[in-house]
Amino acid sequence: MLETYLPIPNAVWATNAFSLINAHHLPGTDDLTQTTGRFAAVRRSGDTIVMTRDTFGLNKLYFALDRRRLLAANYLADLVSAGACLDAIYAVPAGTATTVDLRRRTIHLRRYHHLPPAAGAEAVPHEQLAIARDQLTDSIRQVAAAYPSATVAVCLSGGLDSALIAALTRQHFADLTAYTYTFDDGTGQLSPDAIAAERLARRLGIRIRLVRADESKILNALPRALRFGQDWRDFNLHCAIVNELLAEAIASDIPPNDQPVLVVTGDLMNEFLGDYTPIRYRDHEYYSLPDIGPDLLRISLVRGLQCGDREVGVFAARGLTVLQPYANLGDHLLRVPSRMAKRDVINVLAGGLLPPQSYGRAKARAQIGGPTPRSGILPLLVDSGRHGKRLEHEFCDAIGLAHRSPLRGRIRAGTYRFPHQFPPEAP
């Protein structure tokens, strides 16, 4: 009646403590509004199944109803492998609990977290940022208190978001390695981001490991990035490739032991602050954004987080536990006015932790950039024909579908399919 495939542990902060817990469990509180982090939990009582998902949908929770069973999984590929047809697969929306009563044939959605209608509600955000700064520091301190002996890696891109996370993590974990991706174009040159990351790591006293990837290594990473990153769309896929390369390096460096391997990242800040721009390459626009104002765009980007698995899914598939501390500040960061520059936000959050030159660099993106503007993952994939429909087809192959299915319309306005009523074909 219920089959679950939930290999990804829940990583939650509740009642002033951090814990990694089994995916079937929620933290020791019934008040989910007081719980941050990422989780996907499934509980059954008789004919009733309750599926719950974190505020921003960072842990994925797909489900399928077929003639005999409800199947729930972190990975789409597991549902496909268990025999679910793609058209019978849905996702529990972020910030909700979905109750399915198999006997009464009802499906009910209860939302416990609401995104605001628009970002930037706070004209003077000092109080929000002060709360956010304390919360960020507490989040990392609580991880160190719960897992003092954990092996810890930090993904350091060279940008501000990961720089702050690295600096804070360094304060609580003495033994820390930074992992930085760099595109290897055969010249031996490092990307500007990698150079900045090396410089910062030295300054913070963190060991750094450069992860170089050439064309063949990047193309070899594509099937896993599709399968475990669970998205065929260019932006999330390109991020997932970088993360797959980093995850492979971290997993190969650290021998298995009885402590979790924690990978701390600066992901999500770009969504909360709307720090994205489309990229033109060969007369085509990639990473396109909807034509709406910045306050609405930020909400739209955050809503869309529930549909890609570029970090949690990719790292978990290598046995690594990713932590995204900015997730805990989301509601506060969304109140910051859109006109406030990111470097000013980070400056307040960092409170002097980062060297002044960190704030002066122009933004670059690891998934695009190599040493030159025409090298990197975006140009490489586009030039090898891997964009648009081809990526949809390769995605279908990667998750094990016997037949390639059209994916258009599966994600609408940042939300994966959800049944508007109990599916008629279900038990």
Partner: protein
């Protein structure tokens, strides 16, 4: 004309205006209408639906829910108007 029908006609006209604007649809496009499937026909793509839902929220103060987005009616202008009209109408005892 009942008040409900009048309200729906007004909502349909507003949604049509939004869709035409977002999808950049020519006034004389004969394929386009209130019953056209906006997704299958390609008038609205994944970015367009984000813009459309955002502008529906602004125009009507109604946020389409997850269930609304995947309601089969949400694929056409007429269907969207039905959903929004229902959300705008207070429940009667």
């Amino acid at each position: 004309v009942s008040p409900t029908a009048y309200a729906q006609a007004t909502i349909r006209a507003t949604i049509e205006r939004l869709v035409r604007d977002i999808g950049n649809i020519a006034p004389d496009d004969s394929r386009f209408g209130e019953s056209t499937d906006l997704f299958d026909s390609g008038y609205i793509d994944s970015l367009g639906i984000v813009s459309l839902t955002a502008r529906i929220e602004t125009e009507f103060g109604v946020t389409p829910t997850e269930q609304d987005l995947f309601d089969p009616r949400f694929t056409t202008i007429a269907g969207m108007a039905e959903i929004i009209a229902a959300r705008l109408t207070p429940n009667r005892p």
